[in-house]
């Protein structure tokens, strides 16, 4: 459930390769990348969005340690956070990136709680275990900050001049 389908995986690989070619300045690669994004992005975003939600619930369940109310509260808080981060009239990609930030926020909270629990347990816990927990916590924090940065970069690209147009019931965001 948390993995991409083979199709989505192939599309991600194609986008990655095209990005690299375009970044290297290959003629026509950027045009091809735009075409590939138009064709592939909706499917990949939908798949990633679904997996992200499953992941958030999984993390929230662990944070809540069996308390269903605490689990729902964590999920709700993360969803609100994602909504606020996405801002008004977000593109599907902005929604996905905001959701990723929210998921990583729960992961950071969880890793911090686990690490704290090991510290409080005090003597007896193997040093290697505490160190590994600390490494996991640092890694989650780094990924969280990197995800915020990526979201900010994409939002900056959209710019303040973005307008929303509704065509046939579909919301379309257009940069002027």
């Amino acid at each position: 459930m948390l993995e991409l389908t083979d199709g989505a995986r192939a599309r991600v690989r194609e986008l990655e390769a095209l990005s690299k070619r375009a970044e290297d300045g290959e003629e026509g690669a950027r045009k091809e990348l735009r075409r590939a994004l138009r064709e592939s992005a909706p499917e990949v975003i939908a798949r990633c969005g679904g997996a992200s939600r499953v992941y958030r619930r999984m993390l929230a369940e662990r944070v809540a340690a069996g308390d269903p109310l605490a689990k729902e509260a964590t999920v709700e808080r993360a969803e609100r956070m994602a909504l606020e981060l996405a801002g008004e009239n977000p593109t599907p990609l902005e929604v996905l990136l905001s959701e990723r930030v929210a998921s990583l926020w729960i992961l950071v909270e969880l890793q911090e709680a686990l690490l704290a629990a090991y510290y409080y347990k005090g003597g007896g816990t193997a040093v290697s275990v505490v160190l590994q927990m600390a490494r996991l916590q640092e890694s989650a924090h780094r990924r969280y900050l990197a995800a915020i940065k990526t979201l900010a970069q994409v939002q900056k690209l959209q710019g303040p001049s973005r307008v929303q147009v509704n065509i046939g019931g579909n919301q379309v965001n257009v940069s002027r």
């Binding site: 948390l2 993995e3 991409l4 989505a8 995986r9 991600v12 986008l15 990655e16 095209l18 990005s19 375009a22 970044e23 950027r30 990348l33 735009r34 590939a36 994004l37 992005a41 990949v44 975003i45 798949r47 990633c48 997996a51 992200s52 992941y55 999984m58 993390l59 662990r62 990609l93 996905l96 990136l97 990723r100 998921s103 990583l104 992961l107 969880l110 890793q111 686990l114 007896g124 816990t125 193997a126 275990v129 590994q132 927990m133 996991l136 890694s139 989650a140 990924r143 995800a147 990526t150 979201l151 970069q153 994409v154 690209l157």
Partner: protein
């Protein structure tokens, strides 16, 4: 920790590490030795249980941290593709608009 048989008698020994070397320490025989051996076994099991719980906890934390790696990486690829397609390029970690974009 081990029992050693000499003739008809069992003798209980504990092992301890001194300056990196394992040293055998004689504890005794009979009822007292049996009580000490029982206590040693309880301590050993408690420690093994705690180690097992720690290992399982760590494994779970690692699994949770990496469970959505593929999805998160895909989101990163999409974001990068979006930026590159819009005419941005990376320069020393910063995204800058290409002159020819």
């Amino acid at each position: 920790m081990a029992w050693e048989r000499r003739g008809d008698n069992l003798y209980y020994y504990q092992s301890e590490r001194v300056d990196g070397r394992v040293r055998k320490k004689y504890i005794g025989t009979g009822e007292i030795a049996e009580l000490i051996a029982h206590a040693d076994e309880t301590i050993r099991r408690t420690r093994a249980g705690r180690r097992e719980r720690e290992r399982a906890g760590l494994e779970e934390a690692e699994d949770l941290a990496s469970a959505a790696n593929e999805v998160h990486k895909a989101a990163e690829v999409l974001a990068r593709a979006e930026l590159v397609a819009a005419g941005y390029r990376r320069h020393k970690g910063q995204w800058r608009r290409r002159r020819d974009a």
